[in-house]
Amino acid sequence: MTTYTICIFTENTIGLLNRITIIFTRRRINIESLTVSETERKGVSRFTIVIKHESREEVEKLVRQIRKIVEVLAVFGYLNDEIVYNEIALFKISTTLGNKPLDVETINQQYKAWVVYWGLDYVVIEKTGNDTEIFEFFNYIKRHDILEFVRSGRVAVGKTEKGLVEYLPEEAEWEHYM
């Protein structure tokens, strides 16, 4: 199984998420993670979808099917070494009296993770990194009482010189952000 990251640029319209995900569902491809946000061009949304698949050919077919959606402006499929990617994880750790004390120095310096909120008897630690780094930290921190653990989906940018929006249709009069 190879991990593929699919970046989809779309117009920002209602129902588009559904339109995209049914293409995966119909082909029984499980979505590992999915994030959506507006890009540097106003009105253009960017989907980052991570899947695992054994066949590059099938992923290429999937990309072409997504491209067929009327509101989709461009689609790119990447292998991990073609992108810079990251995700964020939040750990809610119990600090009730009697629990093992947190080693904040190790957390900061060895794992590059930060306490971002102090509750009465818990803290929230934020860790960014790729999935391996996050799970390394998970394995370390699990000695404490993990009340909640959540990961965002992957966000990724291509390693090419140009920005991806360069590939969008030229005559677009997209409004750039400052």
Binding site: E11, G15, R26, R64, Q65, V70
Partner: protein, 581 residues
């Protein structure tokens, strides 16, 4: 004082209070501006404001009241298939819309342009489980080329023009517009103006192919020893019949068609070798394994064509001319893909290909023809006694109509027999449900085809099972005085399923035998003439009676109950394993 009083009201009246038309009238204006002449529809609660506006537009738009929304969908498909323009349906929300679903799915897979306008509950009721509310956007998302929900009257002109542009351009398909009752009723806030959509930023189908792709394709074709043309529906959609003929005649390449590609080229053309697929002709199927270059135009290598795709045309290089880039490499790898409109691609290719004459190669097909004729066609058409065979009916119909009719078929054995035995002479002459295989398609589609092509003889070929799925449309045919001729080939069975049960399930006939009604009495009940023919010696007269009848006519032909369609490529096997019996 009096003078002033008489002036006052006038002053008040001239204060400009702009009132613009409502969403329903805007919809009518938009349809008129788009050149829509015919709508197939069925009214209901959530579409009533549109029907009210339609009342004022009866002179400009011919609305046809069907008997079931599925009928509206198939009629729109039939209309679209013969005219090349989008068929338009107008139905209400909830069940009205869900009844249209089968036809929409059918139109998508057979690349048929269609614009479905569907009522929806008022905007403030969306998501409340209001009366006749269904999530039609969600339901139709996977089976439309595009769908959109209009929630304000101002959106109407732009969305309608976009809908027609998307439905009719590129690879055509169905578009659904869900319009809330509130948007139908509310007034526009600006004057109505309509501009036909020419381009959409995120949707740019390529019409003109890239020159380098054309050149690569031409090079493969010019070096071919055994080239073979597989022609799909895309050639007729692109109206590229003449370009195809010119290309084939210059290069001397034999031409086979898919099921939906039939009638692209006249069956008596010397380069035409037959049609492909599970029940297609013997030679055209077998010879795909002999060709060194396959030139596939406007087709998608359906599993009914390829059989086991992993064993299909392994020896050949493939030139794939196709407007939908997602079809390239989807099933069969293309060595030379040409993405573009079939007409433009063939025009670009023609000057680059060398004149040739592949007589020896072409003659190889003929020896298979001889085998097929000997084993199947001649015995079928010369049955000395017993019940009438389906092939005999179609063969006789073909002769009597000189191959000029529009044949509209349903799905099953009769569909395959119609394709096997009708000798098409004119383009756009076969309207059938190919990809979806929708039983019940033929009767409403034949009606729609007749409306779209009033100058042509339209004959529906229907099975006794299929007929009972949409027979209420007899009422539509009669009310609208369309001279549709319908032939029921009655074998008292769901014949194709029975054939599979016979061949692959040891004759375990599981729920395939029908107790049929008296079809002619049903037709008469609707006010349509008809007759039954069960004897071979009466068949010719019966067909003459039907064809010469002024107005619609139903002819029921009692045929052999357990006849099988051959040749047959059993599902999942390779085309070389085609069976003659």
């Amino acid at each position: 004082m009096e003078a002033i009083a008489s002036v006052m009201p006038e002053v008040i009246e001239t204060i400009p209070v702009p009132t613009y038309i409502n969403g329903s009238h805007a919809l009518m204006q938009a349809l008129v501006a788009e050149g829509v002449e015919t709508i197939f529809g069925y009214p209901g609660g959530a579409i009533m404001p549109v029907y009210d506006a339609l009342y004022d537009f009866q002179e400009r738009i011919n609305h046809i009241l069907v008997r079931h929304e599925q009928g509206a969908g198939h009629a729109a498909e039939g209309y679209a298939r013969v005219t090349g323009r989008a068929g338009v349906c107008l139905v209400t929300s909830g069940p009205g819309a869900t009844n249209l679903v089968t036809a929409i799915a059918d139109a998508l897979i057979d690349s048929t342009p269609m614009v479905c306008i569907v009522g929806q509950v008022a905007k403030k009721l969306l998501g409340t489980d209001a009366f006749q509310e269904a999530d039609v956007m969600g339901v139709t998302m996977p089976i439309t080329k595009w769908n959109y929900q209009i929630t304000s009257a101002d959106e109407v002109p732009d969305i309608i023009s976009k809908a027609f542009y998307i439905a009719q351009s590129g690879r055509p398909g169905p578009v659904l517009i869900d319009i809330t009752k509130s948007a139908q009723l509310e007034l526009m806030t600006k004057p109505f103006t309509y501009e036909r959509c020419q381009t959409i930023i995120s949707y740019k189908p390529r019409r003109i192919p890239k020159q380098e792709q054309v050149e690569a394709a031409a090079q493969l074709i010019n070096n071919a020893k055994k080239p073979y043309l597989l022609v799909g529906h895309g050639v007729q959609i692109a109206k590229a019949e003449e370009e195809l003929k010119a290309f084939a005649e210059k290069t001397g390449i034999p031409v086979a068609t898919t099921l939906l590609g039939q009638s692209t080229i006249s069956t008596d053309h010397p380069l035409y070798v037959g049609w492909l697929g599970m029940h297609g002709n013997y030679g055209p199927n077998v010879m795909t394994d002999e060709a060194d270059i396959i030139i596939a135009i406007g087709m998608r290598f359906d599993d009914r064509v390829t059989g086991d795709a992993s064993k299909y045309i392994k020896q050949a290089k493939v030139v794939h001319i196709e407007i939908d880039p997602s079809e390239i490499d989807k099933i069969i790898h293309a060595d030379a893909p040409v993405v573009g409109d079939a007409k433009e691609a063939l025009k670009a290719l023609l000057p680059l290909v060398h004149p040739n004459d592949h007589t020896i190669w072409r003659n190889e097909f003929r020896k298979y023809d001889a085998i097929e004729n000997e084993a199947i066609t001649i015995p079928t058409l010369n049955t000395p006694s017993g019940k009438i065979r389906m092939g005999e009916v179609i063969d006789m119909l073909s002769r009597k109509t000189k191959g000029e009719a529009v044949l509209v078929t349903d799905v099953g054995q009769h569909q395959m027999m119609a394709s096997r035995y009708y000798q098409f002479r004119r383009p756009n002459s076969l309207v059938t449900s190919g990809g979806m295989g929708t039983m019940g398609f033929a009767l409403p589609a034949a009606f729609g085809a007749q409306v779209g092509a009033p100058d042509r003889q339209v004959v529906a070929i229907i099975g006794d099972g299929c007929f009972q799925m949409t027979l209420q449309e007899l009422g539509t045919i009669v009310q609208n005085k369309q001279p549709v001729k319908a032939i029921i080939l009655n074998n008292n069975f769901l014949g194709m399923v029975r054939q599979w049960q016979q061949l692959f399930h040891e004759r375990r006939y599981s729920f395939v035998e029908l107790q049929n009604p008296d079809f002619i009495t049903i037709a008469r009940g609707f006010g349509m003439d008809g007759q039954t023919c069960s004897e071979r010696e009466n068949l010719s007269t019966a067909l003459d009676t039907m064809l010469n009848h002024d107005g619609p006519f139903l002819l029921e032909v009692i045929v052999e109950t357990e006849e099988n369609v051959f040749p047959m490529v059993p599902a999942g096997t390779s085309v070389s394993q085609i069976r003659l019996k």
